[in-house]
């Protein structure tokens, strides 16, 4: 496995250097390193429990898992020294698993909340233009939206901020196939914007459609780092690490 780990290059737009993080006492991310160029889209793959979500949350500087060791650098900024809100202020945006739409608030309030901290990204007009469904439902309680609409809102919320690195955690999870296609369309649009993105997805096939590159994690370590096509073509690799 170790031969696959690349030496992190500090000149990269974004780099993760040997990070180790813990949930309480469980050691989850056990020394992950990779780097991403600007505007690149990377799929972070691996089976359940491989540490994908934990890696994303570590990058977003969530309170848990707790980063014990390692460096995370975005555009020269040392993310590993920041807290979640500071990371968000320099342009890291996590679209978490389960969307985490804020209950008790309307669609628009969810977007307002995204723009309380500076710097901000898209204006509401831009957002509603790209997401007409949200415009229709702007006064509606956000939690009453359908799963797909909630996912749209979650993505829109990220775009409402001035973002440099987008982290998508399981964007298709729990959605009906037809909705998945719609979210896919939106993400392809986002892709055109040229935002550096890490996408974690269980449905590797769907993720690889978006990604330029794939990184496969296995028990908290990078097991593979290569082009997306390589993963699609290499059945053994898929069977070994993705179980498909």
């Amino acid at each position: 496995m170790s031969e696959m780990i690349q030496k992190p290059d500090s000149n990269a737009f974004f780099s993760v250097q040997d990070i180790h993080s813990y949930y309480g006492e469980s050691y989850i991310v056990q020394g992950v390193s990779f780097e991403i160029a600007e505007r690149e889209i990377v799929a972070l793959l691996g089976r359940n429990g491989a540490g994908k979500t934990s890696t994303l949350r570590t990058i977003a500087r969530a309170h848990e898992p707790f980063l014990k060791k390692g460096k995370i650098v975005l555009n020269g900024m040392p993310l590993h020294q920041l807290e979640a809100h500071q990371a968000a202020q320099i342009g890291v945006q996590l679209v978490p698993e389960d969307r985490r739409i804020i209950g008790g608030a309307t669609v628009e309030e969810n977007l307002i909340l995204a723009q309380i901290a500076k710097p901000i990204g898209w204006s509401f007009e831009q957002i509603y233009e790209h997401f007409p469904r949200l415009a229709e439902r702007r006064k509606q309680q956000a939690t009453t939206l359908s799963g797909g609409e909630q996912q749209m809102l979650a993505v829109a919320r990220a775009l409402a901020r001035d973002l440099k690195l987008l982290l998508l955690d399981e964007p298709y999870e729990g959605l009906a196939p037809i909705i998945v296609r719609e979210i896919e369309r939106i993400l392809l649009e986002v892709k055109k914007l040229g935002i550096t993105t890490i996408i974690v997805e269980q449905n590797a096939v769907a993720a690889l459609k978006l990604a330029d590159r794939a990184i496969i994690l296995d028990t908290g370590l990078v097991a593979f780092d290569g082009s997306a096509q390589e993963v699609l073509d290499n059945k053994e690799l898929r069977e070994e690490y993705l179980a498909i």
């Binding site: 977003a60 969530a62 309170h63 807290e83 979640a84 809100h85 968000a88 202020q89 945006q93 996590l94 978490p96 985490r100 804020i102 209950g103 008790g104 608030a105 309030e109 307002i112 909340l113 995204a114 309380i116 901290a117 500076k118 919320r157 901020r161």
Partner: protein, 296 residues
């Protein structure tokens, strides 16, 4: 008969008003920060002591102006230096540390001011009685009630309104409400939620200070006050549903009315608060209005 029932309702309201003022901050802090604050009674007491000292020297208006900000500041410091380290610890640890701090506040006040009651002089504009029969048509004869109690009810009412307005209609409130729901996602959106939580703790303490200023003249001021109100205010919060502001308001008045209407049965009156608590909790485990918070 009508008079009596009317008076008992008023009494229930004003008893409830005191509970509201004390419990509001407690439930706000629990709902937002998830901290069980056994110091809250002591904060109320600190408010009452500050109020009696300041109003004695500089007048009651000065107390209104100075005490709530002082308690706000005190709460901020308390959050910053004690409570913050207990967010991730179990509730029982939070109970223990805040209980310990309550003892420290109480004993310090006792040390400085002694244990006896300090008479709280009401301001001239608050003294005297209101002749209710002149305003309320269905009352006959002479029905009066102290003016201060109505001031208390009014202050309590406006505090509730102000807090609701703050939470419902301001940006700060929106963040706080959202934070009660999911504080992590807000930090992913770049909001420094920790700082705002500190402010909320200050806000909760400030309401306790306000309670001290306005309830102090009727509960009187001595170092046993904090522990005395701690138990009922916790009952209020738990009966209402931990973290639910409307629940706390509802529970306050429920307890106030229960106390007011059992007044002629000495034994029952003494324990009615506990009976209500036990009955409510046994049948509605999460209290009257659940625990999902202000938003619901």
């Amino acid at each position: 008969m009508v008079n009596q029932i009317f008076l008992q309702i008023v009494t229930g309201l004003q008893l409830g008003a005191i509970y509201v003022l004390i419990a509001l901050g407690l439930t706000l802090i629990f709902g937002t920060l998830g901290v069980v604050n056994f110091t809250h009674g002591a904060l109320f007491m600190l408010g009452a002591f500050s109020a009696v000292i300041i109003s004695g020297n500089y007048g009651f208006v000065a107390a209104i102006i100075i005490v709530p900000p002082f308690l706000f500041f005190f709460g901020v410091l308390m959050e910053r230096f004690i409570v913050r380290f207990f967010y991730d610890r179990p509730h029982t640890d939070q109970i223990l540390v805040t209980f310990g701090f309550a003892i420290v506040i109480q004993e310090t006040l006792k040390w400085i001011f002694g244990s006896n009651n300090i008479p709280f002089k009401m301001p001239a504009w608050g003294r005297g009685i209101l002749k209710l029969h002149e305003y309320v048509p269905f009352l006959d004869g002479f029905v009066a009630y102290p003016k201060w109690r109505f001031i208390l009810i009014t202050v309590s009412f406006f505090t509730v309104i102000a807090l609701f307005a703050l939470l419902q209609f301001t940006r700060f409130g929106m963040v706080i409400r959202a934070g009660m729901n999911d504080s992590e996602i807000l930090s992913f959106l770049g909001i420094n939620i920790t700082r705002r939580f500190t402010l909320v703790f200050g806000l909760g303490s400030m309401i306790a200070g306000l309670a001290g200023v306005f309830a102090g003249p009727v509960t009187n001021v001595d170092p046993g006050l904090g522990m005395f109100y701690l138990v009922p205010s916790f009952l209020v919060v738990v009966i209402g549903g931990m973290g639910s502001l409307p629940g706390a308001v509802l529970a306050s008045f429920l307890l106030g009315m229960a106390q007011s209407f059992t007044v002629s049965f000495a034994g029952l009156q003494a324990i009615v608060v506990y009976i209500v608590a036990v009955v409510v909790l046994l049948f509605m485990p999460r209290g009257l209005l659940g625990k999902k918070g202000v938003l619901d």
